[in-house]
Amino acid sequence: MSTPVDFLLWVRGPGFDIALAVFIIGILIRLLEMLMLGRKPDYAEPRGAELGAGLRTLLTRTLPEQGTFKRSPFTVVGGYIWHIGFFISLLFFVPHIELIDAVIGLSWPGIAGNLIDAVAAVTLVTLIAMLFSRLTHPVKRLLSGPEDYLSWLVTFLPILTGYLAYHRMIEPYPLVLGLHILSVEILMVVFPFTKLMHAFTFIMARWYNGAMAGRRGVQS
């Protein structure tokens, strides 16, 4: 018998196992490949410290740069809104906290469901606006390839299906909950092999840029 409950049990069982395996193995392979490649030893005498410059760049590259903000405020503001909205929904919705607690044993207080609901709605609208801008802005359109649209889709679907599940907009509930979990599993499978990896590499990259400049005594 194939029922929505069977589907939910599959995505919560074997489906999640597969997605978790691809996600963790994929990320570790990519990170280890990058780190093990190493750099040539630098024999030049350092002109400054790496630590302070590295940390400073971690911060400065996270804040919007003035010139960029003036040229394309929409991209900067939209980017902040949806990233923050995504992480609030991911990390502060109580059912998600229960999941994280079950996997790594860490938990923290959640936020009321109806607040998460509002945040998710803003995130969805922002993501749609960002896609619209990508499709209509001539430069962004030229720069965008299939991987960009795939990354957008696999990021958008978990929030959309989560919103539908919270509001129980598709009946029966096991079906919409199953779709939500499946969309997250698709994200997990695609994640290590696309630009979504930036979630793990941005800290290394920003640190490296800053530290390298600090060592040479120049501004990063």
Partner: protein, 368 residues
Amino acid sequence: MAETGKGMEKTLVQSLRESGVSRRGFLKFCTATASMMALPPNMAPAIAQALEKARRPSVIWLSFQECTGCTESLTRSHSPTVENLIFEHISLDYHHTLQAAAGEGAEAAREAAMAENEGQYIVVVDGSIPLGNPGYSTIAGISNLQMLEETVAGAAAVVAVGTCAAFGGLPHAKPNPTGAVSVSEIVKDKPVVNVSGCPPIPTVITGVLAHFLTFGSLPELDALGRPMAFFGKSIHDRCYRRPFYDKGLYAETFDDEGARKGWCLYRLGCKGPMAYNACATAKWNRGTSWPVESGHGCLGCSEPDFWDAGGFYNALSIPDSDITRQAVYVAGAGIALGAVAGAVNRSKQARAREEHEPVTIDDLDKRS
């Protein structure tokens, strides 16, 4: 007195009156049934009229791989009510649990009822049917499968009572040693109504019978063959603790402040969001209470495979497998594979360095 002698000829109202139920009580039941089944209020008189004229339908009750909890729920539900009397009014011609001592006579009664009411009787089934080995469950030497097929052949409709009959239930839980299946997996050519629950709510089965007596047809069913009127909304949708879920107020243990204040039981494993049943409105024990009201999360007993849907005390969002251990294994595999990939890359790098030949101005001149 002649009327009383012919049990089959007596109408429902007559037998209710004999049991001391007033007309007022009867009409109250009809109104309650109409509202329970989400019918318009003006249907109440129509139900009353139809039930007044209704003759006793013959019911054959088959019990297969079950725990008798469903029969307990329905026969011992509470002291006499109209629901009970409706239940008594039906001509329960065969129920082997209740007439176990009758032996051969009971089987003869079943066969007689089938022959006399060909095409009109209702078959109620509780328990799942083992397809593994017929010997796993037999009654009077007849396998469950054979008895079901024989009995259903001349039935008007089949009511699968309880989650075992409706979806396989506990016997169907992994690893399903008896090869248990639900009624609907065997009966394909007759209407089957699934009244799921472990056990199901007594009012639901009387509601289905009242609908059958009134309209001569079965009520509207959902995708899993359950009456929409009772299974159309989830426990979560009708739960009085729902506002706490929306506000993010949860009980985290069974004896913390949240539990005492009656907050949402999601974190304690309540399966209310995925369970469709009428517990929150119909309640149990004459409307006294229901599991969530008594402080325990819903187990989702009216849903297929609820025994296999993860621990009863795990939140609905937690995957079923031991993910922490799996994450550790997978991380180990990832580090090993990553190290191999890194080593391969480094050796490629070293080889490239070895094979590197310096290019001089002269070489470039030669090429151009």
